[in-house]
Symmetry: C2
């Protein structure tokens, strides 16, 4: 089965090598937000000859092609996730490291307004919430 990301590569004219197919598949199947090490480990289980340099080159390429998103959460290594249509932001549990994805259109709208207020067109943004789980 060709992965979701593999399809996107074809759409965008990104050449598909065996290595890229494996990386694409692993990322497509990941429900978390792996960093390069974690991704390399998962990829190595499929083909242990793939080098970490290729993983770095590939995530960079995928990011530039708009296939993956890179996140630099506080004090952590860069993490990656598949970029799909619906944009979302992240709520990070500072105790467990768990990451919750959320969408809040009201905030999105206000961000545009703020940018406009200063004479800017908003082209991108980063919103991360860091929280502690409440005992309920």
């Amino acid at each position: 089965m060709s992965s979701n990301i593999e399809k996107k590569c074809k759409d965008k004219g990104v050449k598909l090598t065996d290595q890229r197919k494996i990386i694409a598949k692993v990322m497509s199947e990941s429900t978390d937000h792996p960093n390069v090490d974690e991704l390399y480990n998962r990829v190595s289980e499929v083909d242990k000859k793939i080098s970490i340099a290729t993983v770095y080159r590939t995530v960079k390429l995928f990011e530039e092609s708009g296939i993956l998103a890179k996140h630099d959460f506080k004090g952590e290594k860069a993490r990656y996730e598949e970029l799909n249509e619906g944009h979302h932001d992240h709520l990070i549990d500072i105790k467990s490291g768990e990451i919750i994805e959320f969408v809040d259109n009201e905030i999105e709208e206000l961000q545009k307004k703020v940018a406009e207020k200063y004479g800017y067109e908003l082209v991108d943004h980063k919103l991360e919430l860091y929280g502690i789980k409440k005992k309920s």
Copy 2:
């Protein structure tokens, strides 16, 4: 004249050495958000014997003491700024690199609500807007 940051160090019981006083003064007088290299250069103009290791150690210490804030803007080196009472977020001009500080209480409120919705107490957040200046 002792700098603003110098006062904060005394308040927080951070030992004040000559090097720290100089770094504090340079940061207090900076209106931009320098990275460690830039800060080191400015500090070197005052005392060229201060090592970059000390600058790294000091910004880390100041950050942990709640005196400086560290920012990791997209694809850039870490930048620092003095942390004052009024919290603010940043709007970054992706062409010029100019950084505009802003406050939007409505967004702040909504962030808390989002965290609560997922059962979290919001302890920190990061909001960065990236924009292009509109021709007016």
